[in-house]
Symmetry: C2
Subunit: 400 residues, 2 copies
DNA sequence: AATAGTTTGTCGGTACACACAACAAACTTA
DNA sequence: TAAGTTTGTTGTGTGTACCGACAAACTATT
């Protein structure tokens, strides 16, 4: 039961077209989720009348959201006409900025990528601005610019509503105004979001079936730091100024192997991130008086899985702390599912073993068990998240 | 942007009366929040047309939700007719079960108590069931039973939707089926909720203006244990099986002064609850070779405020851990406001001092500041929460 | 091959609810 | 007393969903 926010009432009152807005979104989501599907089937599943569904489907075909794909099989009567989301046509531009690479891609309504450009991320904010602007302008033009919106995932603090990027810790960029520039240059709406929240959004709209059938789950993104995304009632929890879900800075002890990005040595992220993992491995190697310059996280995980002693120990200890933190969040938020994303999930067995250790705590506390699973989104969840930012606007519930 | 849950679509489609349902709730909430208020003023603030508001107000007066209270002052034209919530008439029965006492009260739509009965809580579950049933039946009868619903706050795990009480740790009651019994006996809907969540709900609907103007805040209930309630987007976050917000069992160290209710010595609640406070005080007294049997929490807080050394030290240390935990939640959830409830809030200055110490952490992490405040609900927030359970159904947004 | 039954999709009628505009009532100010 | 303002009501038009009837398309049975 939700309290009505009177300060926003002017956007909330129901007008004559509100009925249609709501039902159109519901029908659109049925086509997205259950395609191929017929008008009659949608009517049965929604309890809308066949004639109503028919009018809405005509409208959706008319505006290019969905398309006919021939007849289905008869069940003893007239064959139904089937529909699915219109695919192959540009619907979204996704910008995914990570500390190493930046990807700009064109996607259709179904989330398929039609074009993709990757380039190295530079610490030079001016250079990055011009690079992004130029490539986005190019893609906008070649897409025909018809209702194509833009989604932008950034590893930092953003205000989604104002479209402002406050701080990108990795490069110490502050108050980066790129979104307004893109909007001015292309005329398209830009939606910006923190990378962890974008990943949570990606899981919500494109994740594993178990996740998509849930509307309350957590996403733990293990990378350079640790990001957490909270999805509650089908919405990404943002908190004030989009800073919600920064559990990476939760206190986990007082002698972490590395400094946190915030300077502290107490944060969870300083115990359980890739940075902590690498530091532990280097310390073990140094203790063994064998020096080996730099190691990649993927290689380290590979080594550990092949039984290399130091790598295995470093990974094990790091996952111990990761599991402790996850356990805290499970106890505190009691989600139906926890999704872990990042390169360390290749060693999933190890994480599961560490989780089993702490899982009993929630059982002791009498709480229901939580499903823990690795992300099924592959190597670029934040890019998919950037697409999700646009599609969530297209498919999400009307403001009401 | 919220994802539409297709599994519940049959309840979500908009019908013809959906417009009216939505707008009726909005108008009702305006009368609740801004009374005395006229039809014309509601129309101005909502952007609904005067004629529409007029029809809805007639409807609300007709069903006894609001009532006329004479004319307002003219601003150069005809005097407006003012309305307010109908008060003085029974609208909700609140049941508030705490480890020591159980309160059953009759309240009106505005949340005023019309009648109140208090009796000692007994560990005998059968006795409690019959006591509650009998008194509720009596109140139902004398209220005329016209649309009066029942709210029930319990210190334990509940499933709000099924109306089941899984576990009350303090008495180790399990699977208590009292809600169904009450419903069967009275014919009135019973809404049951965990005490921390009920308190959060109370803050949401009856709290300080700063809280009511927010739709994202945390409630920390310090009592025998520590309960946390999370309000996000005007809704209480429940998590799976209503277990959301049990951050009391978050790991805060490994040598707490007492065992947690779950058996662990690592939980936050074992560091920062009233139980921990009392244990620390007793330990200090024993160390001083002065024995003093049992102390009440209220007395201990009083002593500490008057400068008694041991009490002050025990309270200070406990508040240190309380502040640490709150800080974790602030960093993780970035709420606009944190409300602290419980007897220790009488020593608010001390809590604030401890909070100031950890507050810098969120500033370092670049996060926006959070307002911390004591509850303004007085001595029985859970009773008000129990009323809130009913009123949230009456005033909340329609399911849609 | 004809007929009966089923399913799909369409069309016109009805009901509901909001917006709008015109108007009457009630009040203030000059 | 007259002009201006605000409130609240009433009648009309429009958007949208539901309903029932019907045609089209198909399957199954005789």
């Amino acid at each position: 039961m939700k309290r009505i926010n009177l300060h926003r009432a002017k956007n909330q009152i129901a007008r004559l077209n509100t009925i249609r807005d709501i039902n159109r979104q519901i029908v659109l989501n049925y086509v997205r989720d259950r395609s191929p599907i017929s008008r009659a089937e949608i009517a049965r599943q929604t309890d809308l009348h066949r004639s109503t569904v028919s009018v809405i489907v005509d409208e959706l075909v008319g505006d290019g959201s969905i398309e006919e794909i021939g007849s289905g099989v008869s069940t003893g009567g007239r064959k139904p006409t089937m529909y699915k989301l219109r695919s192959g046509e540009p619907a979204a531009i996704a910008i995914d900025l990570t500390p190493r690479t930046t990807t700009i891609a064109l996607a259709d309504l179904a989330g398929n990528f039609l074009e993709k450009e990757v380039f190295s991320t530079s610490p030079d904010i001016e250079f990055m601005s011009s690079q992004i602007l130029e490539r986005v302008k190019k893609l906008t033009k070649c897409s025909g610019n018809e209702g194509v919106e833009i989604g932008f995932s950034v590893p930092g603090l953003v205000d989604q509503r104002l479209g402002e990027i406050y701080h990108v810790p990795y490069f110490d960029w502050r108050n980066w105004n790129i979104c307004a520039e893109i909007e001015a240059a292309t005329g398209s709406k830009v939606t910006v979001e923190n990378d962890a929240n974008a990943t949570a959004l990606a899981e919500l709209w494109f994740g594993h079936e178990k996740v998509r059938k849930t509307d309350t789950f957590l996403m733990i993104l293990v990378g350079e730091g640790i990001g957490t995304g909270i999805v509650f009632d089908g919405q990404v929890y943002r908190g004030e100024k989009g800073a919600g879900g920064e559990f990476g800075h939760m206190i986990a002890g007082d002698n972490a192997p590395v400094d946190c990005s915030c300077g502290s040595r107490e944060c969870w992220e300083a115990y359980a991130s890739e940075k902590a993992l690498l530091a532990r491995y280097r310390a073990l190697l140094a203790g063994d008086s064998m020096k080996q310059g730099s190691v990649e996280v993927s290689d380290l995980v590979e080594l550990a899985m092949n039984g290399e002693k130091h790598a295995a120990e470093a990974l094990n200890e790091t996952m111990h702390y990761l599991a402790n933190g996850i356990s805290n969040l499970i106890v505190g938020l009691s989600p139906q599912v926890v999704v872990v994303s990042g390169r360390v999930t290749r060693a999933w067995d190890l994480i599961e073993a560490q989780m089993a250790r702490v899982a009993e705590r929630s059982v002791l506390a009498g709480l229901p068990p939580t499903i823990l699973m690795p992300s099924s989104l592959g190597d670029s969840p934040t890019l998919i998240g950037a697409v999700g930012l646009v599609l969530a606007r297209k498919f999400g519930a009307p403001a009401f």
